[in-house]
């Protein structure tokens, strides 16, 4: 068995708490190209990755473009008292992501897909121990991609983007408790999907 090494853990990022005054949104609204370049450099990555996980990499570029264009054309819609800039940007991005999902997938985002509620396979062994880092990443990507959108979304926001539950709830527009429970179920499903019986032995 080859031990997987995960030494390159993501540092906790603080960009999800950014408010209007420290991202230069005012300057962007005045048409300051340099300020926009800074804002874009800071937030395009998380939004691109969120969109890529939710509706594919091909569409992610378009989602990012539409998100920032919406911000540029209607900056007055941002209300700093209602949340952070990044929550606002993710909210716009989510809107464009939803337009690209099928109606069935969108319905599952609004409600709670409870067909998997009974999933509780955390005691199962996983294939993760037996894979190289690259294989692990590929396997987890496939497992995430196969999750229902509502679960996939919280995994992307809370696990991959390291957003707090509150920030994720702000983006998803649901209570924090819902985010927490979805994440719990999503993790259980991921373990189940990564079990040797689900993936086939890779030793």
């Amino acid at each position: 068995m080859r031990a997987a090494t995960f030494g390159n853990l993501l540092p906790r990022v603080d960009q999800f708490t950014s408010r209007v005054d420290d991202v230069g949104l005012d300057a962007v609204c005045r048409g300051d190209v340099e300020a926009f370049a800074k804002l874009f450099a800071r937030f395009q990555g998380p939004i691109f990755r969120y969109a890529a996980h939710m509706c594919g990499r091909d569409a992610a570029d378009d989602v990012v473009q539409e998100t920032f264009l919406a911000l540029l054309r209607r900056p007055d819609r941002y209300d700093s008292t209602r949340g952070t800039v990044v929550s606002y940007l993710f909210g716009i991005a989510r809107h464009f992501v939803l337009k690209r999902l099928t109606s069935r997938e969108v319905a599952s985002l609004d409600g709670d897909p409870d067909e998997h509620q009974s999933a509780d396979p955390v005691d199962q062994p996983t294939v993760l121990d037996s894979l190289t880092r690259e294989e692990t990443i590929d396997a987890v990507r496939v497992a995430i991609q196969s999750l229902p959108p509502a679960y996939r979304e919280v995994v992307v926001l809370c696990e991959l983007q390291e957003m707090s539950y509150a920030a994720a709830a702000d983006v998803v527009q649901c209570p924090v408790g819902t985010v927490r429970s979805r994440l719990h179920r999503a993790r259980s499903l991921l373990v189940m999907k990564l079990s040797p019986s689900a993936t086939g032995s890779r030793k």
């Binding site: 997987a4 995960f6 390159n8 853990l9 993501l10 962007v28 005045r30 048409g31 300051d32 190209v33 926009f36 370049a37 874009f40 395009q44 990555g45 691109f48 990755r49 890529a52 990499r57 992610a60 570029d61 990012v64 473009q65 920032f68 264009l69 540029l72 955390v122 005691d123 199962q124 062994p125 996983t126 993760l128 121990d129 880092r133 692990t136 990443i137 396997a139 987890v140 990507r141 995430i144 995994v155 696990e159 991959l160 983007q161 390291e162 993790r187 991921l190 373990v191 990564l194």
Partner: protein
Amino acid sequence: MNEPQVNDRLTSALRAVAADDEQLNTSAAVQARLLAEVGSMARARRRRTRIIALAIAAGLLLAIATPVWRARVRPPAATRAAVVSESGRGSADEVSTDFFPLAYSNVPAPAGHMVRIQVPRTALASFGVTSFASADDASVLADVVVGDDGLARAVRFVRLVGK
């Protein structure tokens, strides 16, 4: 493998995916398009600002210059009488038309003066005045308001009654 171990493994695997995701970024073409959009929006904004500033400046200029110009081209009656008196036509009664604006009447003038000249009687017709002078007069008197810049602003026609 117990539950905490499975959870730890899963968390580590997810972080590996997150670390791998770091290389995923928006294409340079999208960034270029957005920067171009910001630039064009900034230019449009500057154009709008310039037009508004010019409109405000023009409005202010009109608001300030119009009363000044009116005060200058319509001197009080006492002043007009003084001008007539100074030019040696004091005892004669005069009848005059209203002032007619000339081509440069809209150009503000900080100061000016009135000049009396003699013009052919046909000049009356060009201002639509038909019955001001007798048919025997070959010429008529006219008061022309001239600004300090030398441009004529207005004219009126004068007839000496007591002559």
